[in-house]
Point group: C2
Chain length 316, copies 2
């Protein structure tokens, strides 16, 4: 198992610069007053394909040598990694095959297809996803870019925390949602080198709290097919992300479905951004744990903004 | 009638700096490909009270001397000017009375009240609004800050175009929606001095096209109580805004309700921002007039983002 280094992250940042936005950091007096903390939101939903995952995907795609690149890339993903890998492959002009659960939001499937990605659908479980992928990969021979358990991907995701530290002074805490742990691992990689005094707190839906239970138990616990509105956070930790999570994460906090939807609507209303339910989990946990964050400068990574605008969770 | 000058705009910009955001300019490859133009979106919906009108309102409020300020401010507004004047008055710690149509979106009424503004409701017509306001102003004695026909307000709105020109190089056109003409007049004030080569094109709903008809006729035509989803654009031009519109605007284009809703949803989906229907009118007119904008660098002012998230027009 190759553990990506701080230099890998710096190399990634130089490599991917033409394909990513240096996304803005936004604040809201209203949300500061509501939480009692000073919140800074890094808007990765503003990346062209709508998610931070463009960072890791672009690092993997543009790091391939020409011979590898010709064979294209392949992956399985609940959505945003698929869109972002398709985007990066499209920018390089190489094929991209993706396995997606049949239940993935239509908006995410549309984005993959818009960038020329080829979708093969599977059942919405980790088992089915991995089985189906093995078949697709055998048939196409593309370079496998795992959505998170891949050193190239983690080095790419780590570039977000580097920008964040440059954009927002004196953060006490950086928070991100946790699914497979790619963004959190990249954040650990960067901050443990660049700003080791900053706490890293992950946020997870109660209904898909395998990372929380893993963190408390001290070993990886994986659920098959959890259900939550935060559809980007269904996947389990793997060895590489567990390495970073177990070593550098301060804590993992959880929130209910109702809390997540409330925080999502609050953010849409007061930051006036379109973001996914997954991205609302950190704010949901802050609102549940106000004492812990009172007076702190808290950076929150808004991970993605690919939403079915016809199916908003507070209108169900 | 005092016509605000370029120096008034510069003074305004220095005065209001602590109370406004220098809002980001965003782009979308998808929307560029769709329109054939290069679009730059200045996100005034990201102002703390959710609209560009915080610029003019703050200039008026913070330009008052102490004796005037003690009496507070008063206005009538279909929404965003009311919220923004309340915000500015709140920041200065002075009273704010506002007359709003009973039909104004709940989100806008909530924002006014959150900032401590006192609301008096009127019927949704220009006549009722002005009559009700006369009574309120007589009772309170506050300094009248007209939502647009006020040199302090126009000088304040003009600060947006100054930032826009600094943030986006080589714009061929700047577009904004037109209601009473405050933002367009401020844009005219700034660009006619700073970048007279840039075309200024206003966009208006077909169902509230009084500015369009005025522009074609050569004199102000006012409708009483027009109806459109773009609820920020119901009010007519007045003498001061007519001065700027008739002198500096290149053209006024219109769009149907259906076109506006389509452009609104497109922007939410691809720029991932929450913005009002009024802010979608420029993109709606570009999509109807692609030849005219092909290959051009077009700046669009996203005017506001106070939306009832429970009533989205494409879900009706």
């Amino acid at each position: 198992m190759y553990i990506p280094t701080y230099d890998d992250m710096l190399t990634a940042h130089a490599r991917i610069k033409p394909y990513i936005h240096r996304t803005p950091v936004r604040t809201s007096d209203f949300l500061n007053e509501l939480t009692g903390a000073q919140l800074f939101f890094k808007c990765e939903n503003f990346q062209e394909p709508g998610a931070f995952k463009v960072r890791g995907a672009s690092n993997a795609v543009f790091g391939l040598d020409d011979a590898q690149a010709k064979m294209g890339v392949a992956t399985h993903s609940s959505g945003n990694h698929a869109s972002c890998l398709s985007y990066a492959a499209n920018r390089r002009g190489i094929p991209c095959n993706v396995v997606m659960p049949s239940t993935a939001p239509q908006a995410k499937k549309d984005t993959v297809r818009r960038y020329g990605g080829q979708i093969t659908e599977c059942e919405p479980s980790t088992t089915s996803r991995e089985e189906t992928f093995a078949k697709v990969q055998a048939a196409t021979g593309g370079n496998f870019v795992h959505p998170y358990n891949d050193p190239r991907v983690i080095a790419g995701q780590g570039t977000c925390a580097k920008e964040f530290i440059e954009q927002a002074d004196g953060l006490d805490v950086v928070m991100a949602p946790i699914g497979g742990g790619g963004m959190i691992s990249g954040t650990c990689l960067t901050l443990s080198n660049l700003a080791p005094e900053v706490q890293i707190i992950a946020a997870e839906p109660e209904q898909a709290n395998d990372a929380y239970r893993s963190f408390k138990a001290g070993y990886i616990i994986a659920d098959d097919a959890p259900k939550t509105i935060a559809d980007g956070l269904l996947v389990p930790l793997k060895d590489l992300t567990w390495h970073f999570v177990s070593k550098h994460v301060t804590d993992i906090l959880t929130a209910s479905e109702e809390d997540i939807i409330h925080a999502m609507k609050l953010t849409w209303k007061h930051l006036r951004i379109v973001m996914e339910a997954s991205s609302a989990v950190p704010l949901a946990t802050i609102l549940k744990n106000k004492d812990r964050f009172a007076g702190k400068r808290v950076g929150i990574i808004i991970t993605g903004g690919n939403v079915d605008l016809d199916i908003l969770p507070w209108l169900k």
